[in-house]
């Protein structure tokens, strides 16, 4: 996975639940493009038309709360979102995103407006707002999550390692 990239920010608020990321009526499919076609539909009906591949989603607190549906990070990833930066995430969404290889960064003090150019350095855990000339440090992730993300997701990680190694946490 590319560890440093830039994208345009799309900024939304607090408590965005997984139903609004992808509604339950769209989750019953293995065609991932179907998910992407409806991503964030009940939050912002225009999101799909505004999104350019590589853009970054920026949100407030508790992003991805609610359902355990992995279709939520999948919809974002397949639609072309390169990373999600939030003040903090709901637990299941955070794990799911890492497991499917969607970078997620917890940045409690990030300030950004929609349209700002954002640079993300995953290895360094740094988010820069290039438009506002500000720089932020993301909360540290457990090593196991860094390793899973580095390999592109949990499927690749377990194909390589076979199981979880308690000494590698």
């Amino acid at each position: 996975m590319e560890s440093r990239f830039t994208g345009r920010a799309h900024v939304y608020g607090d408590d965005i639940d997984t139903d609004r990321i992808i509604a339950g009526k769209y989750t019953k499919t293995l065609n991932l493009q179907d998910l992407a076609d409806h991503v964030l539909e009940d939050l912002d009906i225009d999101f799909r038309s505004k999104l350019t591949k590589g853009d970054v989603l920026v949100a407030g607190t508790n992003f991805g709360c609610g359902s355990s549906r992995e279709q939520a990070p999948l919809a974002l990833k397949v639609a072309g979102v390169s990373a999600v930066v939030a003040k903090y995430f709901a637990r299941i969404f955070f794990r799911n995103a890492i497991n499917i290889g969607l970078p997620v960064l917890e940045v409690p003090d990030l300030e950004a407006d929609s349209g700002d150019e954002v640079e993300i350095d995953l290895k360094a855990g740094v988010v820069k707002n290039l438009t506002k000339h500000t720089e932020y440090r993301a909360s540290a992730m457990p090593q196991v999550m860094i390793d899973i993300l580095d390999q592109g997701g949990l499927v690749a990680y377990l194909k390589k390692n076979g199981t979880y190694d308690a000494s590698a946490l």
């Binding site: 139903d19 009940d42 355990s68 279709q71 794990r95 497991n99 949990l154 076979g162």
Partner: protein, 414 residues
């Protein structure tokens, strides 16, 4: 070493060493469960990982409940993937109509106190009702459990929530659950476990405890563990293994005055937007829904039947009822509850999750107001972003169906 919380005790046993809050650990998992929303992706990921048979097929459960029976050919194919996986691997399948996954896991003795249970459904926390460390994960995490029999996690800190006093007649477990979510907030327990205890819980049945533990995820909790005082199960269990040590360390301790509690309602679009019913008296209602993994059990249908006995649903109101399982449905058929509710105008839907999650049946119209016994009222939750969903107890929902507006069930009985 300091005393242990319930989560620390259970996770220590599954880690094979003593673990405390904030530690990262790999644990052995006792059982895994997935639904038709999450199983197809989990099976795909499992195969991509190189998996052929789950680590323990007898304790791997597939439940077809979210869009059941299949509403279209696309979903029928997903159901077939689950049936085929069960045939090939020996994983246990619950097919169309048998019930909602969480109801089935407890009703069918698939989870026991002190176990570590992982389900690809966020309301897996329900099994904290009987002292299991049970938590929701996504499809790929569940695939990894099937492959390895293990998972990794951070041992959560624990919040202790005590509900003092006995709740009054007319107040139900659901009211306590909504009050709890209102008090702690939508993210109030994120990354943490919650232990729920107190005098109000002691007389409660397993069904009622399930209603309370079920809403743990609506506070973001990793696990919602109800203390075992008063818990009755049809087998012996070690209560000390699912009780905290007296000197356990909590990140936060809160109380709710159970004796003072009024019936509660959560306003759209947030489960934590909880208010006393009194604030909403007179709100016009179009749809009333009784069912789900929160409130689709026999005692819930009985509560509704007490209100609806000999009455009719108000003109223009649609009342839908879904028993949480076939067993619940059969019991309600045998004891006359089904007849009482149907005579009052209720429409019975298949046992499953469809209406609650907007995947199948009962989708409300634009601008319509729904009162529901479910656990979520997010925008679009029931399949239409233009509808408004209020969460309440079975009695409050039944009373609203009769009156055509939100009323205190106690006033209706006069």
């Amino acid at each position: 070493m300091a005393g242990m919380t319930v989560a620390e005790k259970i996770l220590s046993r599954h880690a094979g060493r003593p673990v405390a809050a904030d530690e990262l650990t790999v644990i052995d998992v006792d059982a895994a469960m997935m639904s038709d929303t999450t199983a197809p992706l989990a099976i795909k990921a499992f195969r991509e990982m190189g998996g052929t048979k789950p680590w323990n097929p007898e304790r791997t459960f597939l439940v077809i409940d979210h869009a059941s029976p299949a509403p279209n050919e696309r979903i029928a194919r997903l159901h077939d993937i689950m049936r085929e996986f069960s045939r090939e691997t020996g994983a246990v399948l619950y097919d169309v109509g048998e019930g909602i996954c969480h109801q089935l896991m407890i009703e069918d003795d698939r989870v026991r106190p002190g176990e570590a249970f992982f389900g690809a459904d966020s309301h897996t926390c329900t099994y904290g009702a009987l002292g299991a460390f049970a938590t929701g994960v996504g499809s790929t995490d569940l695939a990894a459990v099937m492959l390895t029999g293990k998972t990794w996690l951070k041992v959560p800190r624990t919040i202790r929530l005590e509900i003092t006093g006995r709740i009054r007649p007319g107040v139900e477990a659901k009211d306590l659950a909504l009050a709890m979510v209102g008090k702690l907030g939508f993210a109030g327990a994120t990354y943490q476990a919650v232990e729920i205890c107190g005098e109000a819980l002691v007389p409660m049945s397993l069904d009622e405890r399930m209603t309370i533990a079920n809403l743990g995820i609506e506070m973001g909790a990793k696990a919602a563990l109800v203390h075992p005082e008063g818990l009755e199960l049809p087998y012996d269990f070690d209560a000390s293994a699912i009780s905290p040590d007296p000197d356990a360390s909590y990140v936060r301790e809160l109380t709710i005055d159970g004796a003072a509690l009024r019936p509660q309602i959560s306003k759209p679009p947030r489960p934590d937007a909880t208010v006393d019913i009194d604030e909403l008296i007179g709100t016009k209602v179009d749809v009333a829904f009784i069912g789900t993994c929160v409130n689709g059990r026999l005692r819930d249908l009985h509560a509704a039947a007490r209100i609806l006995e000999g009455k009719r649903v108000a003109p223009g109101v649609r009342l839908m009822v879904s028993a949480a399982s076939q067993k619940v449905f059969l019991a309600a058929a045998k004891d006359g509850t089904l007849a009482t509710l149907t005579a009052a105008g209720a429409t019975f839907l298949p046992s499953g999750c469809g209406p609650c999650v907007g995947t199948h049946l009962g989708v409300p119209g634009d601008g319509e107001v729904v009162v529901s016994t479910a656990n979520r009222n997010f925008r679009g939750r029931m399949g239409n972003p233009e509808a408004l969903v209020y969460l309440a107890s079975p009695s409050v929902v039944a009373a609203a169906a009769v009156a055509g507006e939100i009323v205190d069930p106690a006033d209706l009985e006069d």
